[in-house]
Amino acid sequence: MRAKGDILTYVEEIAKAMEMLATNKRSVFLGQNVAYSGSIMSASLEKIPANKKIELPLIEDAQMGISIGLSLEGYIPISIYPRIDFLILAINQIVNHLDKIAEMSSGRFKPKVIIRTALGSTKPLYPGLQHCSDYTEGLKALVKNVEIVKLTKSDQIVPAYKKALENAIESNKSTILIEIADKYCES
């Protein structure tokens, strides 16, 4: 049992950040293994109310478009891709729409999405090249208006998600947060 004041682990900080996001009445969490278990991220969503979780089929690019659409009607979507390798499938919507709509529309439409993804873990099992690549720098080269943050330390997590929520509420700005799954098992 942890005592008050104990330092939380990486994965505990992630769960705390998700609960913080859920306190916003317009937030919704969507993706695969969001309402159902199955991904390395599912456990961090267990305390999120069921009515805030939207389980989607495998439609990565459409998921990003759906997230943009929800945002146009006032929601703050937390769009979840358990591995950055899978987020690559949504690059079309991220680059051609999420990153450009505000500029293309002269600021008339300002979609804001919080994108949660992770670099796949390599320990204790090596999952293969398609499950643990790091495209952080590639993503940075593709977008100019979406903020990208790699979460390398546990004490960075809650402030980074708070800032992503502030970005969404106050500046209608989207953020991609990249977690490091190898740190999920750290005690």
Partner: protein, 197 residues
């Protein structure tokens, strides 16, 4: 307020844009809509001012029929935004990425349903876009989840100059798909027992 435009109102607008283009007053591509007036006027009778309209690079008629002010639209076109017509008041949203509006429109319709709204989303797509995978995904998802969205296919048989049905083929024979059912013994990954390394 609902606007009622005649076929002549629409063609007059596009002819004016054409002339501006010929006079070198527009420094961006323009995609004129002439030829679809009758069909669109009929469809827009059902579209309410509070509904959303999603369109493409060819959106002048959709915008006008949705209630976008003619002078405002002309100004946007002259400021080289013909392929990016966005009007928040009239809920007109466009994209020049083919098929790209399909999931965004689906997301808006999900939001409307969650909000208990009676508004609808109308999506205007070309015949080639209608064949795209992401569009099929969205149509299937929206139909199976009873989302308030209507898909309108504007079929001129061409995608730029490529004949849609020629490249896709005109008939769908029974595809060679084998599907079998089974029950899994083990979880998605591993064997259900924790292994400590």
């Amino acid at each position: 307020m609902k606007v009622m435009l005649s076929e002549k109102d629409l063609t007059d607008f596009e002819e004016e844009v054409k002339q501006l283009f010929l006079d070198k007053k527009i420094r961006s591509p323009v995609h004129l809509s002439v030829g679809s007036e009758k069909q669109l006027i009929e469809i827009f009778k059902e579209i309410r001012p509070s509904d959303w309209v999603f369109s493409t690079h060819r959106s002048h008629y959709h915008a006008l029929l949705k209630g976008v002010d003619r002078t405002w639209l002309k100004k946007e076109i002259m400021e080289n935004r013909s392929i990016h017509i966005f009007n928040k008041e009239c809920k007109v949203f466009t994209s020049a990425i083919m098929g790209g509006i399909a999931p965004i429109a689906t997301g808006v319709s999900m939001a409307l349903k969650r909000n208990g709204s009676n508004d609808k989303v109308w999506v205007f797509l070309g015949d080639m876009s209608f064949e795209m995978g992401i569009v099929h995904e969205c149509i299937k998802y929206a139909a199976r989840h009873d989302l308030p969205i209507v898909w309108v296919v504007e079929d001129n048989g061409l995608s730029v100059n490529t004949p849609t049905q020629e490249v896709w083929g005109t008939e769908t024979p029974n595809p060679k798909v084998i599907r079998y059912k089974y029950e899994r013994k083990y979880p998605h990954q591993g064997c259900g027992q924790r292994v400590i390394f």
